[in-house]
Each structure stands twice: as C-alpha cells, then as structure tokens.
Amino acid sequence: MLSELRTMWEIFKHSFTKADTVQYPEEMPYLAPRYRGRIVLTRDPDGEERCVACNLCAAVCPVDCIALQKDTREDGTWYPEFFRINFSRCIMCGMCEEACPTYAIQLTPDFEMCEYDRQNMVYEKENLLINGVGKYPEYNFYRVSGMQTAFKDKGEGPNEARPIDTKSLLP
C-alpha cells in the first residue's frame, strides 16, 4: 500500500518536469555528423565519380537493395554504368559505406525521404551522385592505387614505388 502511494507521488512529481519530446516538423532533432541516413555517391577532388563498380557494397548489403553494373572508360578506369538503390528496402545499416574501398558510397544525416508512390523510393545514379567529396576530401582512388590508367603509369602516384622487374631480381 505504501509503495503504491509512493509510486503515485513519484509520478505526480512529473507534473513539474519538462516533456522530452522533440516537436519534429517545427523543431529539428540534433543529428550527429555520422548519422546514418540517405545514401549518396561522392566525387573525388577532380570531380570524377569515385565509384569503381567493384560490387562490394551490393555484396555486403543485408537487404540486397543495391544494384549496379560495371563499365570501363576509355582511359581504363572503371565506373558504374547504372547504380540503383531501393530506399524502400534500405535499412540504413551503413555496411555499404564500410565495405566501399574508395569512399564513394557514404551515408548522410538526412532521413526525410517520404514518397506517396513506392517506385519513387528507387534512386538512380543521377539521384545519388553529389557534386562533392563527402567525408574524405583529399582522397582520390586512381591517384594512389598503383593502377595503370591513361593519365598515370604504375608507380607514379604519391607513396608509390616503381614495379619491381621480377626477372632482374634473379641472382
């Protein structure tokens, strides 16, 4: 009996506390910079697409919401011919961002993606690509990867050594 009265008193004291609710549309909640929201595809500092169409994001995606097709440019670099994310499936887990070797796919603090038509939740590459570098402003995969492209031979990038001629290494 006494504990019931005490409970009632404790609850009654909450008459004088402020509500914890954030009145969302009028008052935006604080979203951390690393909040996992809408997915974007970033560009490297030269303005080219970072995505190399390696398919790791699609492979790691637990709900299979990512679809893409690889194609090769004339300079030898890879890029996705199409890149499609079905946001009505996406669970914003961020595993694609972890898997991405080139920092291309990134999650942003934006969750306001309401549509009346479900088909509108499917984002194509032109909807996903942004004109910016995202979280890693310096990084440019083809400049540091040691891969031969039209604008750079093997070993010419920063922190790279020339390839070793295995034949001349023979004793």
Partner: protein
C-alpha cells in the same frame, strides 16, 4: 418538460464528456510520462476527438462469422445503456437531477452491476479465446468486488439514514463523509476502479496479455461503444464518489458559498477523474488472483470493521450504549 430536457442534456453531455475525456486522459497521461500526447489537431489537440470520431464512424461494422451474432451486437449497447441509466439518479445540484428516488443508491449499484454483463457477454459471444479469458476474468472480478462495493456504502447510508442521494448529500452539510467514512471511501474507490474496468484493474482488457481481452473481436462503432461505456463508467463512479463522500454540490462548510453548487460538483468530479488517470499512470496491473485475494482477504474485512465501528459510534451518540 424540464426533466426531459435535462435528461437529454445529460445524455448528450455524457457522450460529449466521454469523448473529450479520451483526449484529456491521453494528454494527462502524456503529461505525467514526460511527453505531450495528442497535440497537433486544433487548439491543444482537442480536434483529436473529432478525428477519432470520424475514424470510428467510417469503419466497417463487421461481425465475425464465428461469433454469436445477437449477443455480439447486444453486448456493447448494454454497457452504454446501463451506465447512462446510472446518471439518472446523480444529483448534480439542488434541482438539477433527473429523478430523486428513495433508493437512488441501490439503483446506481444495480445499474453498474448490469454493465458488467456487457463485458461478460461480449467476451462470451466473440467466440475467441482471448475474449473468453477476458470475460472469465470479468466474472471473477465481479464476484470479488461487488460484495464489498455495496457494503462499503452502508456506512454512508447508516450515517445519513437514507438511500436517497439527495439526503446523503444534505447529511454532509457540516462534515463530508470522506473524513468520517475514510475506510469506506478507500474501499469504494478501489471497488469503483474495478467496476469501471479502469487501470490498474482492467484485467478483462489487459492488452499486454490478452491482446484486447473481451473486445478483441470488436471494431468500429461497437468498439467505440465499449469505450464510451468505460468512460461513462469512469464519470459515473467519479460522480458517485463526489456525491457520497465529498459532499456532492456542497462547497466546504462555511467558506464554500462563493461558487454555484453545480460548479463545486464539476470541480470535484474533475479532480476525482484526474486522480483516476494518475492511478492509471502510476500503478501496474495485478494478477486477477491477486485482485480476488485483495478483495476477499483485505477489502471485505476492512468494510466489515468499518460497518461495526460506524454502527457502534452511531449507537453511542444516540445514547444506545
């Protein structure tokens, strides 16, 4: 003519009050749980009442094929009718009541007991295991609280020497019965919660265990009528607590004349309703064997002790002992 108009006003007022109460309770619960509750539609969210009404009225009026059709439809009407009838004897203010019968208290007890049948029949007619369990619990609850609910009021009857609610209010002109009948008040409040199936004693509903208990199969307006009955019951029990223990329309003695009687009545009922909502916010639901043992082992002895003491004191004051 006047009693008819008054009856109509009380009928409409009861329904409107129950509707507003759904909103008020949700706001108040939110208030005590550090959130807002429905606050978007209209000033302070009161438009929520209208939205709920539209939603419930436009829903499909569906009877499950496996249910006992006649009883299934009858059950929700019974609770509303019974609770509405209970309002017939409530003295809101001197002259503002539908009828002053000399057995008003018995009439009230009878009508609230009839309302329990609605829950029982609803549970039985649904032909659903959860609904049946809800009805079963309702029956178990009924046998355990009806006894001490009636007995707890006998102290009041002894002190005012009448079953008429007007006489009972007038007997409290000097001292309200909440002081002299404190034990009776305690027991009656607990029985009243059980009677109107409010938390913490909403065992027939018990949404955590029985999905929705006796009204699992109900939807649309039939469900709304159960809810209406519940809130009418809440208001009726609050009116009764005020009438029997807190002096009805009377203000506090000597200083209570600056408000009209109806305002005093409304104010007190408002406080009692808020107290019931606080109970709902604060206290968890007991198991139904716990409720029954509380009823038989604690509440019934308390009531009997209260009766004996009241009788002895009354006899002593009249010089009988």
């Amino acid at each position: 003519m006047l009693p008819v108009l008054l009856a109509l006003a009380i009928l409409l007022g009861g329904v409107a009050g129950a509707a507003v109460l759904t909103w008020w309770e949700r706001r108040l619960l939110g208030f005590w749980q550090d959130r807002y509750g429905p606050n978007r539609l209209g000033p302070f969210g009161i438009g929520q009442v209208l939205a709920d009404m539209i939603k419930l009225l436009t829903k499909d009026d569906w009877v499950p094929p496996f249910a006992d059709k006649v009883v299934f439809i009858f059950a929700p009407t019974a609770i509303v009718v019974a609770m509405m009838m209970g309002f017939a004897v409530v003295p809101f203010a001197p002259g503002v009541m539908i009828i002053d019968v000399n057995i008003g208290l018995l009439f009230f007890l009878g009508m609230t007991s009839l309302a329990v049948y609605s829950v029982l029949l609803g549970g039985l007619a649904s032909n659903n295991k959860y609904a049946l369990l809800g009805g079963l619990r309702s029956a178990a609850q009924m046998v355990s609280y009806e006894v001490f609910m009636g007995l707890s009021l006998m102290g009041v009857v002894m002190m005012s020497d009448s079953f008429s609610l007007v006489d009972i209010v007038e007997a409290q002109t000097n001292v309200w019965f909440c002081f002299s009948q404190a034990l009776g008040l305690l027991v009656f409040v607990i029985a009243g919660i059980a009677e109107s199936h409010r938390l913490p004693f909403d065992l027939p509903e018990a949404e955590h265990e029985l999905t929705a208990g006796f009204h699992t199969e109900y939807g649309g307006m039939k469900f709304a009528m159960f809810m209406l009955g519940e809130y009418l019951g809440l208001m009726l029990i609050s009116c009764m607590i005020v009438t029997l223990f807190f002096g009805g329309w009377l203000g506090p003695a000597y200083i209570g004349h600056w408000l009209p009687p109806i305002a005093w009545f409304g104010l007190k009922v408002f406080f009692v309703i808020n107290f019931f909502v606080l109970l709902r916010a604060a206290i968890p639901r007991p198991r139904y064997d716990q409720l029954m043992s509380l009823g038989w082992k604690v509440m019934l002895p308390i009531t009997l002790v209260n009766l004996v003491i009241t009788g002895a004191v009354l006899l002593w004051m009249e010089g009988g002992i």
